[in-house]
């Protein structure tokens, strides 16, 4: 039997009717993001304190490095490569970076905050001077002078909320869709309706698509309110199209839905769904790169970060909102990764809707 859009539509209509009637969930969907934003908004308002400086250590220059690390105001983030540093600056998450290597010292500076750029440049000069005297006292005839090259990168002068806001949009959608979907599927089981579906012309694919369709309407509602609060309430820029942002969020929501459906198989009650939060939600919050750049996460955890959908959604939403990225700009890797995540878990969720309970 071919999948029928009509039957998926019947399921979608039912899901919408049910959610519409559930006042508390509607309230949560709409107001929880607002409350969350206000909390974060106050907690994170103001400029980021200190100067965030990336350090790519390619060897040598011990004195210069020691000097930079010793400066109280500098918050040093050790990075693996110059391109990492460049990207973080362009995303407004670093004020600058120093790349040390045998062939010289390169300084990357954010052109959007010249004051800080000046401070970093001065510190590097001072450090280089120390290095020079150190080498002279060590008795070297002709101290090789470190060649310092400086490059400006177009970045942002961001407040914390700007980097966190777009990610929170992804986070709330993921959280609520996951929980609501898991609960909905647990109910389908305990009510016996799932069993009845199995003995009807409705296929499992139609059922999952119906759910995705029905939930999407609420995802749109939720993202629209959250987007509104983030941009108008907290002044986070929205340089790209809201439609593009919505597309990212819808894809993320679809992934969260099938993930919730999949995990509903491992819970026996709605209460047990709540116990998934620390397992499924918390790692995403911690590791998706909202709070600190992924580049600073210990190397052995990093692959894990790159398996989490929120990592890609947060990255894509930041690009859309802060840099005005279009769909083409975030297609790879973000949309692709979200798409793959959705496909894998919809296959898993569909398979788990097995007939045999025992």
């Amino acid at each position: 039997m071919n999948p029928s859009p009509a039957r998926a539509g019947v399921v979608a209509l039912r899901v919408v009717r049910q959610l519409k009637r559930d006042r508390r969930t509607i309230g949560l969907i709409v107001f929880a993001p607002i409350v969350l934003m206000i909390l974060f908004g106050y907690a994170l308002s103001g400029d980021m304190s200190g100067v965030h400086l990336g350090l790519v250590d390619g060897g040598g220059h011990a004195a210069l490095r020691a000097h930079l690390v010793s400066i109280q105001d500098f918050d040093i983030l050790r990075l693996g490569s110059e391109s990492d540093a460049e990207r973080l600056i362009s995303e407004g998450r670093l004020d600058g970076a120093v790349v040390l290597g045998p062939e010289g010292v390169r300084v990357l500076l954010d052109s959007s905050s010249l004051q800080i750029a000046g401070a970093i440049a001065a510190a590097v000069q001072a450090g280089a001077a120390k290095e020079k005297t150190g080498l002279q006292t060590a008795g070297q005839q002709k101290a090789q002078e470190s060649a310092i090259t400086t490059r400006y990168i177009f970045g942002y002068d961001l407040v914390m909320m700007d980097t966190v806001g777009p990610a929170i949009l992804g986070l709330v959608v993921f959280f609520f869709t996951f929980i609501n979907a898991a609960i909905a599927f647990i109910r389908e089981r305990s009510q016996g309706t799932l069993e009845k579906f199995m003995v009807s012309p409705l296929s499992r694919v139609e059922m999952v698509s119906g759910y995705v369709l029905g939930f999407s309407l609420f995802t749109i509602l939720q993202s629209a309110t959250t987007l509104f609060v983030v941009t108008f309430g907290f002044g986070v820029p929205l340089r790209g199209s809201p439609i593009t942002a919505l597309a990212v969020v819808l894809l993320l929501g679809a992934g969260a839905l099938v993930l919730g459906s999949f995990f509903s198989n491992f819970a026996r009650s709605e209460f047990q769904v709540v116990q998934f939060i620390p397992l499924i939600i918390t790692p995403q919050i911690v590791l998706c790169g909202i709070w600190w750049p992924l580049e600073s996460v210990p190397e052995f955890i990093r692959p894990f970060s790159y398996m989490l959908p929120l990592t890609y959604a947060a990255h894509a939403l930041r690009a859309v909102m802060l840099k005005g990225a279009g769909v083409a700009d975030i297609l790879y890797p973000d949309l692709l990764a979200l798409g793959i995540f959705f496909l894998i878990f919809s296959a898993a969720a569909t398979m788990m809707l097995r007939r045999e309970v025992a």
């Binding site: 039957r7 209509l13 039912r14 049910q18 009637r21 305990s190 003995v199 012309p201 007939r355």
Partner: protein, 307 residues
């Protein structure tokens, strides 16, 4: 139509041959063999845990069998997915959405089976009438009483006019008057050639069915028409006779080969069949008499004790 009629004579609507199903080490269906003909109301009776629900779930392939063979509406059970639109399955859980109204629940199931708008409206009206919920169509299913909930579930199961109805304890909590309506409705369905399989643990419901299967521990302890089951259990109608000279007549009747008990001066004759009543009355002339029909319930008790 003629060809279909022929097939129906040859093949039963549901046929199970040595069906085996275990959950872990517990064997729930133990070489179950039974034929359920087309166009009857078949009552699957048995105590809780005897495997009735498991059997129904096996029919619709919600379970994989560990052994045996089964066919449903002329198809091997492995192909039953393809005829789901001809089957109406009412689960023991009743499978409704408590947060949808009566009407929304029915519309949802009508939609799943692809009923067109016009057809749906007519069908909804008819069924709401039958289950006596017309006045409550706007109420949330979750706010219905147990019996109403049950009735709504039945209506949702009937919505697509299935050929084969599998009803798992459909009358639990339904009041006697409405239960009567249900049975009349089932009677009409079977007259249209539809097949109705009902499970129940209420003995008195079995007497309303054309065929009865009594399950115990995953097997058919007894199977057939109600009369056949009574005979299998050795239960016969009893003719009670009040006689002027009971002792003398008792001797007389015994001599003619009747099974006689004399209880408190009343002579009780166990009849092989109702046809023998005439012969008894030719031999003796009672002052008064009464015929006591055996109860299916007693038959099942006997059969399960024997098993």
């Amino acid at each position: 139509m003629a060809g279909r009629g022929m097939a129906r004579e040859i093949e039963p609507a549901i046929s199970a041959r040595g069906v085996i199903k275990s959950f872990g080490r517990q064997r729930v269906l133990d070489s179950l063999t039974v034929d359920i003909p087309y166009g009857v109301t078949y009552c699957l009776l048995g105590p809780n845990g005897s495997g009735k629900t498991t059997f129904i779930r096996a029919i619709v392939r919600l379970l994989h069998l560990d052994g045996g063979e089964m066919s449903v509406l002329g198809r091997p059970v492995s192909e039953v997915d393809e005829i789901y639109s001809q089957i109406g399955y009412m689960t023991q859980h009743k499978a409704l959405y408590p947060d949808l109204t009566v009407q929304e629940n029915m519309e949802f199931y009508a939609g799943l089976y692809g009923l067109k708008k016009q057809q749906r409206v007519a069908r909804l009206e008819e069924l709401l009438e039958m289950v006596d919920l017309s006045e409550h169509s706007g109420r949330l299913a979750g706010a219905l009483s147990g019996g109403m909930y049950q009735r709504l579930s039945l209506a949702c199961t009937l919505i697509h006019e299935p050929e084969l109805l599998l009803l798992d304890e459909p009358t639990v909590g339904v009041d006697p008057r409405l239960r009567q309506t249900f049975w009349e409705y089932f009677g009409r369905l079977t007259q249209e050639g539809k097949t109705v399989l009902i499970t129940t643990h209420l003995m008195d419901e079995a007497e309303k069915c054309q065929r009865v299967g009594y399950m115990r521990a995953g097997r058919m302890a007894a199977e057939g028409t109600p009369e056949e089951i009574l005979r299998q259990a050795g239960l016969r109608p009893i003719l009670k006779l009040w006689l002027a000279e009971p002792e003398r007549d008792a001797v007389l009747l015994r001599a003619e080969g009747y099974e006689i008990d004399v209880v408190g001066g009343v002579v009780q004759v166990r009849l092989e069949s109702h046809a023998r009543i005439k012969e008894v009355l030719a031999a003796v002339s009672p002052l008064d008499m009464r015929l006591a029909e055996p109860k299916l319930e007693e038959a099942f008790l006997r059969l399960s004790e024997a098993a």
